[in-house]
Symmetry: C2
Subunit: 231 residues, 2 copies
DNA sequence: TCATCGTATAATCATTTGATTAAAAATGAA
DNA sequence: TTCATTTTTAATCAAATGATTATACGATGA
């Protein structure tokens, strides 16, 4: 009755093992759910939609994840893990600290490039960003998962690097807000992609030169931080 | 059977007249709908929720707006109008053009301050921003209303001013993307307000000094535009 | 006072939805 | 193969939902 790989906590082992075989039912449900929850939101996505997209059965959702909410949380955990993978925050050691301004800037540039490219090009990242945005704007229980396991780490890391660039303390509100603003620039590139495409007279996907320009814009803002006078 | 104020196009006159008496049923439905659609999304909001919040009846939704979708579109039109009011884009004449860099910067600062304060403090603006964000990320028919009637005008105006500051053409992709990035910074201040509050060790509302800092951050990015070397 | 018309309400309807169930199918060990 | 266990499936259920309808209410004018 209980699936073999359900542990004592009621958690689903497979939920944290994205490397399972492609045809695993639980994995297929999570993939389909990620796509659909991101696109239509939690309530906008029906269990039947998920089951059909996953080429599976409604009953399997209950079998592997207890219920729709369980699947949603499993997906949040999976996304948190994948985000850390993609952004290189999943190693045991924390990302290396930068000691001087040039090093910090170089690391920031690297992070920005990686995030912009992921959001612009990797279909996977695009899939889950909307789910993440929804949670940030309108937190459910999944927000805590995403915040604690990923968002805070990225945010703190950005803040530390920016503190070095600005020659300020990473505890200052100003520095934290600068980090937040940098994230906002990147995120809005994806969240507001439809209006941006229209404004550029384009349709469909962002062409590579636009992605390059977005990178340049964000990076130029990073460099400007070095010249911000202390107030 | 048909409400008196329904015109030939099937549009609802009251939908574009936010100044009607407070106790007008149609107006109450729109207010409640704005709040609820913004918070729970289109599917996440039920007609019963709206009717109850508006202290009205389910049947009235059909009576005034045909159906749930009609109410949603009426709300989108109303929001578009209110956004233009709030940001001063509702005059017959387009906003004044800036001829030199200092004038353009001053105008940009004004716009940024107005938007940040609205998003931070006006409950109304906060209410509809989430609805707008959802539409941008996941466009329905209401997206066209919001885009054409408001977003594009604001975007174009920002782009023109930024073009002056950067001494470039407002048609350049670089300039359009800079404008988009500025909007992203402001919008993410509200969309990502929960994670930002957590990072700042705060809860509830943004205190005034945080709002001030956000303004300073965005404005410093505006000023940095003047020093961006042409590429 | 009554009649009319615009508005509001409660009851009802057909679908949809998440969840459950019992049976079938697949899997694997003896 | 046999048999027990795990997994998948289709059918079913109760609750919720958008829409509709018939009726009641209330203001206005004859």
């Amino acid at each position: 009755m209980q699936p073999r790989h359900r542990n004592a906590l009621g958690e689903i082992a497979v939920a944290n093992e994205p490397d399972r075989a492609e045809d695993e039912t639980a994995h297929k449900l999570m993939l389909a759910g990620m796509e659909l929850f991101g696109q239509y939101g939690f309530k906008g996505t029906t269990t039947r939609m998920i089951a059909e997209a996953a080429d599976s059965n409604i009953g399997s959702i209950a079998y592997y994840f207890d219920n729709k909410t369980g699947l949603y949380h499993a997906i949040a955990r999976h996304i948190a893990q994948r985000m850390r993978d993609v952004f290189g925050f999943n190693d045991e050691r924390p990302p290396t600290e930068a000691s001087d301004r040039d090093q910090a800037l170089a690391q920031l540039e690297l992070i920005v490039r990686r995030m912009v490219r992921q959001f612009a090009q990797a279909p996977e990242a695009r899939r889950w960003l909307m789910l993440v945005i929804r949670e940030q704007a309108n937190p459910s229980e999944a927000f805590d998962i995403l915040y604690e396991e990923t968002f805070e780490r990225v945010h703190v890391h950005l803040t530390r690097l920016i503190a070095v660039v600005m020659d300020r303390s990473p505890d200052e509100h100003r520095v934290i807000i600068e980090a937040h603003t940098i994230m906002g620039q990147i995120v809005f590139f994806l969240v507001g992609r439809f209006p941006l495409l229209r404004r550029l007279g384009l349709e469909g996907e962002f062409p590579p030169e636009v992605v390059d320009t977005v990178e340049q814009v964000v990076i130029s803002h990073l460099h400007a931080l070095a010249f911000t006078t202390k107030g």
